[in-house]
Symmetry: C3
Subunit: 266 residues, 3 copies
C-alpha cells in the first residue's frame, strides 16, 4: 500500500500553494503519495471545509491536511488528531477537523504541534499549510511518532466543530446545510443511519421548511426518480442526506446558503 497524504484547501486553481505543498511533502518523504483531495473550498467557510474532511471516510487510512482557517495569523494552535481508524488529521484547532472524526471512529489522541524540528523554516505566520501542516503529514508518514510533535491536548479543550449532528425527533428533523456542490445540491448534517431512524419510506413526501419557504419533496433513491427540475431528498454519496433538483440548481432556485437551517417534517 502507498502511504497517502491528502491536501485540502481553499486555494482553488488560482494559487501555487497547492503545488508547493506537494513539493514540500516529497522533499521530506519521497515514498509517500500526495492526493489533492479538494482545493475548491469556499474562502472563510468552515462548514464546507469540515464537511469535505468528512468524506475522508471514503479515502484509505492516511495523513490528511486541511488548510482552511479564517483565523490564520491569530493564536490558533496547529494540531494533529489521531483517529480511531488510524488516520492523522492535521490542521488548525478551529473545529474544522472535528466532524470528520465522527466518521473515522472517533478521536484517539490529540497533540499540539510545537516541535520545530518538524517544521519548514522559516515558518511563515500565514502559510501554515506549507510550513507546519504539510511537513507534519510528511514526517508522520515517514517515521515520526505523534508524541514527538508536542504535548497532548485534552479532547474537551479542542475548539468545537462548526456544526453538530442534526436533531432527529419523532416527527421532525432540525438540520443545517453544511455544503452545496457545484450543481446547487444541498448536503445536510444528517447521517444515513440517522435518516433511517427517522423512518420514512421511499416515495413518501416530507415537508421541508427553510427561510420563508415550505416545500413538499419525495424521498427518492436518485435523480432519475423525479421529473426534470423537480426536487428530491435522498441519501448522498458520502453518508449524508441531500436535497436537490433533477438537473437544476436548488441553491439558485431557492436562494439558500451554507449554514442555513432546514426543518424536515413527516
Amino acid at each position: 500500500m502507498k502511504k497517502i497524504i491528502t491536501l485540502s484547501s481553499d486555494f482553488g486553481v488560482q494559487s501555487q500553494g497547492v503545488g508547493i505543498m506537494e513539493s514540500v511533502a516529497y522533499e521530506i518523504n519521497p515514498e509517500a503519495h500526495v492526493i489533492h483531495l479538494m482545493h475548491g473550498l469556499p474562502s472563510f467557510d468552515l462548514l464546507y471545509a469540515a464537511r469535505t474532511m468528512e468524506t475522508l471516510n471514503y479515502v484509505q487510512i492516511g495523513f490528511h491536511v486541511c488548510v482552511a482557517d479564517p483565523g490564520v495569523g491569530t493564536k490558533r494552535k496547529p494540531i494533529i488528531i489521531e483517529t480511531g481508524r488510524g488516520d492523522f488529521l492535521i490542521g488548525p484547532d478551529n473545529g474544522v477537523l472535528i466532524p470528520a472524526t465522527r466518521f473515522l471512529e472517533g478521536i484517539k489522541k490529540v497533540v499540539e504541534i510545537t516541535n520545530e524540528k518538524y517544521m519548514r523554516k522559516p515558518v511563515s505566520l500565514i502559510f501554515h499549510g506549507r510550513d507546519i501542516f504539510t511537513p507534519a503529514a510528511a514526517y508522520l508518514s515517514k517515521e515520526a511518532g505523534i508524541e514527538e510533535f508536542g504535548d497532548d491536548i485534552n479532547i474537551k479543550d479542542l475548539v468545537k466543530g462548526p456544526y453538530e449532528e442534526a436533531i432527529i425527533g419523532k416527527n421532525e428533523i432540525r438540520a443545517k446545510i453544511i455544503s452545496i456542490n457545484k450543481f446547487g445540491s444541498l448536503h445536510l448534517n444528517i447521517m444515513h443511519s440517522s435518516w433511517d431512524k427517522f423512518d420514512i419510506k421511499l416515495n413518501d413526501i416530507v415537508k421541508v421548511n427553510f427561510n420563508n419557504n415550505s416545500i413538499k419533496i419525495p424521498y427518492a433513491t436518485t435523480f432519475g426518480d423525479v421529473e426534470m427540475r423537480k426536487p428530491l431528498i435522498m441519501k448522498d454519496d458520502y453518508d449524508r442526506v441531500e436535497v436537490a433538483l433533477n438537473q437544476d440548481s436548488f441553491e439558485k432556485k431557492y436562494k439558500v446558503k451554507i449554514g442555513d437551517d432546514i426543518v424536515i417534517k413527516k
Copy 2:
C-alpha cells in the same frame, strides 16, 4: 512504462470526488499512475465531454474513465470499450465515449460492467465514478481481463455519440461546435484530414455562417497570422478545426454556444 489511468469529470475544483477517485484507484493498484485529464467539464454537456475524451489521442495507451452523465441514476449501463489502439474507455453507455473511438482506431470489444467483484461496495446509485468506473480501470490496469467484467454488448446497440463527423461537401462543410475553451475559441467536428480534403489554401477566405451571422475568415496557421481581435480558422492542437479571435473571445463576441451549427462555404 507506467500504467496510466486517466480521470475526467464535471466536478471542477469544487468536489472532493476527484481526490477520492484517485485514492480508490491506488487502493486497488498502487503501481498504476493516475492522471487527472480534465475535471472542468461543463455540467450536463455531453458534447464537451465527448470532445475531451477525443484528446486521449495525445495520451499514451491507458485506462480512461469519464464521469459525465446527465442521466446518472437512470438505467444507463456502465460499460468498458476496448479500442483498436489498445485503450480501455470506461463510463456510461450514453454516447460520451463514442467520438473518442474514431481517434483510437475504432472499437474492438464492448462489455457491460455487471461483475460486483470489481466494484467498490456499497455501490452508490449516483457516484458510479467512484464505485464502478474507477475500480474497473484500476482492476483492468492490474490484472483483470475485460471479459471478466460482464457480457458483451453489440456495438450497434450502444447509445450513439452526441455528434457525428461534419459533412464535407464540395463547396460547403456542415459542422457543429463541439467545445469552447476558456479563451472563447470554438472547436468543430472536423478532423484535420477532412479539412485537407475540403481543399482550402492557407490565407484563403471562407464564409462562416452560424445563427444569424455570416462572417469572412482567413484560413491561417496560428493566431499571430491575423491582427489583434481578428478572426481566423485553423487546425487546432487536437486534430480538430478551430475558429477563434486573436487574443479575444469569439464566444462572447458572437454569442455562440456548444451544439450550435456552423456552415463553412468556399
Copy 3:
C-alpha cells in the same frame, strides 16, 4: 530525491492540456514526478505568470515549465534557462521566466530549443507546452544536457521581464502590483530584504497611493493584527510584500488590478 517537473499554465480546470502534458512527461521519463504548480494563471497576463514562477523559490530544485504566452504562434523562441541554484526553467522567450531567476541565484546559461530530437512530433504551432516545453523538461530530467537542445543565447539578448524590482527610496517606494490572489490581496514587486532596507517598524503607519486613492495602512505581521475588514501591509509567504484587508477583498474595495502602480510613503 525524486526528480521534480513542475507545470504552470493559464489552462485552468477547463482544459485537458494539463493532463496531456503530464502524460507526455511520463512517456519520456517514467521516473520523474510531475507537480502541477498552478494552472489558474489569468489568460494573457505575463505579470501574474512571472510572479508565480518566482515562488519556485519554495520548490526543490527541478525542471520547471511555464506555458503562458500571449504571443503564442508568433516568432517567440522556446528557451531553457539554467539558474544559479541548478533549476531549469523552460518556456517562451517573452520575459515570463526572468523575475524567477532573481530568486534562484541568477542565470547561468540560456539556450534556444531547436533540436527536434527532443520534441514531440508533429510539433503544433500553438501548443508548445505539450510538444516542446514539457518534452524538454522530461528529457533534461532523464539524461539530456542543456547544450544538446540548441545554441546559447546571450543573456542580454533575452526579452526583458514584465516587471523590474521596485525602486526603494529613502522616504518612498515606487512599486507595482504583480499579482492578486483569490482573496483579493495584492502582491508588490518588493522583496522582504528590500522592505527591511526601507526601515519601517512594526505597527508604523505608511501612506499608500494608487490610482486616485491615498490610504493609511499599518505594517503588521499578519491578518489577525488588524480588525476585521481593515487594511494591512505585511511580508507575504513568498518573499514579497502584500497589501490586504483582514477577511475582505482589497481588490474589490479599491478596484485595483495587476500592473497598477503603487507608491508607499513613510
